[in-house]
């Protein structure tokens, strides 16, 4: 046997005492390392800075009007919106002489009005006229659409409707956005919002169609505020229900008008054919956006429980999901 294969020099055997001491030392070392790691662990991580917002959106609700909802049945949008507003006491209860009104439409897509993927232009024109008739000093219409804004407003008919009825059309541009943080919000923290559109505004109305939405289950009054958000907002689709709750906390509208004359019951939110629509002959007008969406869920064959954002918004204090508790005014235009 060669020398290099010789046995190592004999090592003294480890006794029990040595073994226990070494094991204890190893255990203490591992335990200390784990404890330090646990102590230093930051479950949130170093996200983007949350600056204190220098701007905030006002509350546009009319406290003396209280929480109300009207549900009008009929196939003529002009008649149903007038009937619903009359049931609530008339638009004069909400829009006063000299008010500057902002109407947030759903103009997300550059699609024709026939697809009902966007706010109906005739309905928009009628509501604008009603605001002026109530004494509004100015009415402006806006949205920050998914597609190119000019194309959306032109092809959806919203642009023509706004201008023909005397409203100003606010096309979003960089200078109109400001970062805001919404108290109680999970996501709207130092995030760009179409703040410039609110300049001088005293009343805010939302007009939205009732649509199926592949991610959130539905898009109605509350999700309509998504169009006030700027930036790379599609990242919020990852937790869409919580984000819609955030939107409901961000916007406290004067009124929401939920157009369920036709409901897009499949392939939403873009649709793609009149075959995706169902004539549901309903117009919902409410001072409570959560109640409006809860009532609108049925038009899509859903219950409020099928749309988790409704419960989240209610829990956050944005309104009530129990719209029946508001004793809805139900009217029919025949």
């Amino acid at each position: 046997m060669s020398k290099r294969f010789k046995d190592h020099p004999p090592q003294p055997e480890m006794n029990r005492r040595d073994f226990i001491i070494r094991s204890a030392k190893a255990g203490i070392t591992l335990g200390t390392a784990a404890a330090i790691g646990y102590f230093l662990y930051d479950p949130v991580g170093p996200g983007a800075p949350v600056e204190k917002s220098s701007v905030a959106l006002p509350d546009f609700s009319v406290p003396e009007a209280g929480k109300k909802i009207a549900i009008a049945a009929g196939d003529d949008r002009i008649k149903t919106v007038n009937a619903a507003l009359k049931a609530l006491g008339g638009i004069e209860c909400f829009v006063k002489k000299g008010d500057r009104v902002l109407i947030k439409v759903n103009g997300s897509f550059a699609t024709p009005p026939s697809l009902c993927a966007t706010t109906n232009p005739e309905l928009l024109a009628e509501v604008t006229r009603l605001c002026f008739r109530a004494g509004a000093a100015a009415v402006a219409v806006t949205d920050n659409p998914i597609n190119n804004p000019e194309s959306c407003f032109a092809l959806s008919g919203i642009g023509d409707a706004a201008q023909s009825s005397g409203a100003d059309l606010i096309v979003p541009r960089e200078s109109l956005f400001a970062n805001i943080t919404v108290p109680g919000s999970n996501f709207i923290r130092n995030w760009p919002v179409l703040f410039g559109a609110f300049h001088g505004v005293t009343k805010l109305l939302g007009i939205a169609p009732v649509k199926d939405h592949r991610r959130s289950g539905a898009t109605m009054s509350m999700k309509n505020w998504y169009g006030f958000i700027g930036g790379r907002r599609n990242i919020f689709h990852q937790d869409i229900h919580t984000f819609i709750k955030d939107l409901a906390l961000m916007i406290r509208p004067t009124l929401v008008i939920l157009d369920g004359t036709f409901a897009m019951i499949s392939n939403g939110p873009t649709g793609g054919s009149v075959s995706d629509l169902k004539q549901t002959n309903t117009m919902i007008v409410s001072t409570d956006q959560v109640a409006a969406d809860a009532a609108g869920a049925a038009l899509l064959g859903k219950t409020p429980a099928d749309l988790p954002y409704i419960a989240k918004a209610e829990h956050a204090g944005a309104g009530t999901a129990d719209f029946e508790a508001l004793s809805p005014f139900r009217v029919s235009t025949g």
């Binding site: 090592q11 003294p12 480890m14 040595d18 170093p46 996200g47 983007a48 800075p49 997300s108 897509f109 699609t111 024709p112 026939s114 697809l115 920050n144 998914i146 597609n147 190119n148 000019e150 194309s151 092809l155 979003p172 541009r173 960089e174 109109l176 956005f177 400001a178 760009p192 179409l194 939405h213 592949r214 991610r215 959130s216 898009t219 700027g230 930036g231 790379r232 599609n234 689709h237 869409i240 499949s266 392939n267 939403g268 939110p269 873009t270 793609g272 054919s273 009149v274 075959s275 995706d276």
Partner: protein, 332 residues
């Protein structure tokens, strides 16, 4: 106990010092974290306030060869990738992204006779024919009218939908007056494209008797609420007053098909189903009573198949046994 030598002690001290140095460096680097750096990055990536899409300008861009004579481009072609797809179709992007979406090309065309009449062409590149068929079939409208284009196609009152090879096409019209133009455009697109043959062979294994061919759909994931069940074709059968949904899925191997049949059966039982025997003469089948409905799950060779959520057991087993025989024949 053996005492350590000087060399071992030095190496040990060096390693400990090195670890301490690394710890100190990590701690120091964290204290220098600059959140603005990340914000700036996000802003450059599109976290700015206003997103600028390409603005169409009338008549710009070349006229594609497939365009019928009486149509003219309203603007240039727009393209969207997986990052920007939701800028075009918002929440519906999920459907495409989960099915292998590669690219979307869109362009609007107006009637030369009446520029207010326009349509928009969407071409979704899905990567392979199966995925294209999946997004085509999963959005099928209830009042779809089959169209003979030599490919899977249907129309509605105001739109055309079809698939050709790895691409899925939508032609959406703003006016009901453009039916002829839509048809011409669809035909031109199919003729201009490559010829694909042998598509959807699994769908041909549905027994033809009482089958509603237009109902054949392909579902890519979470079929019947079961996460492991993917790539499943479904089809409707009219059995008198009863409607039967049949399903068929080719797996990688016979073993996988058998395993999936078993795990899907367990899933049904865990959700309240009871086993209710097997189809006579079909040993690889099981009947489940799911509350007031019936489900048949079977496997034959590489195929998993069955019937789903059928009101009566007779209709459920009748269709399932025909599928079983068809798979048997195909396997020989």
């Amino acid at each position: 106990m053996r005492r350590t030598g000087i060399a071992e002690t030095c190496i040990g001290i060096f390693i400990l010092a090195l670890l301490a140095g690394i710890t100190a460096w990590v701690y120091f680097a964290q204290s220098l974290f600059d959140p603005d750096f990340y914000s700036v990055t996000l802003l450059k990536e599109g976290n700015g306030a206003y997103r600028k899409n390409s603005l169409p300008s009338p008549g710009s861009g070349p006229v594609p060869a497939f365009l019928p004579e009486n149509l003219t481009p309203m603007g240039p072609e727009e393209t969207f990738d997986s990052e920007t797809l939701s800028d075009k179709i918002d929440g519906k992007a999920d459907l495409y992204l989960s099915s292998g979406f590669v690219k979307l090309r869109t362009r609007r065309f107006a009637s030369k006779a009446d520029p207010k009449s326009w349509l928009e062409l969407f071409i979704y590149e899905m990567g392979d024919p199966t995925k294209a068929f999946s997004v085509y079939s999963s959005q099928k409208r209830k009042d779809a009218r089959p169209v003979d284009l030599g490919v899977s196609a249907y129309s509605t009152e105001d739109a055309f939908f079809f698939t050709n090879g790895p691409d899925y096409f939508e032609i959406i019209s703003a006016s009901k007056d453009l039916a002829e133009e839509m048809t011409s455009l669809a035909k031109n697109l199919v003729e201009a494209g490559p010829k694909y043959t042998g598509q959807q062979t699994e769908a041909s294994l549905f027994p033809p008797e009482s089958l509603d061919e237009s109902s054949i759909s392909l579902h890519m994931s979470d079929v019947f609420g079961f996460s492991a069940l993917d790539r499943v074709y479904t089809a409707s059968y009219s059995m008198g007053a009863a409607q039967v949904t049949a399903f068929l899925s080719k797996r990688e191997s016979a073993e996988e098909a058998a395993d999936l049949a078993a795990t899907y059966g367990r899933f049904l039982v865990e959700n309240g189903a009871e086993e209710a025997g097997a189809i006579p003469g079909a040993p690889d089948s099981k009947i489940y009573k799911v509350f007031n409905a019936y489900e048949v799950v079977l496997h034959r060779g590489e195929f998993l198949a069955g019937t789903h959520d059928v009101d009566n057991m007779e209709s459920a087993t009748d269709v399932a046994s025909r599928i079983y025989r068809k798979l048997d024949e195909a396997g020989r």
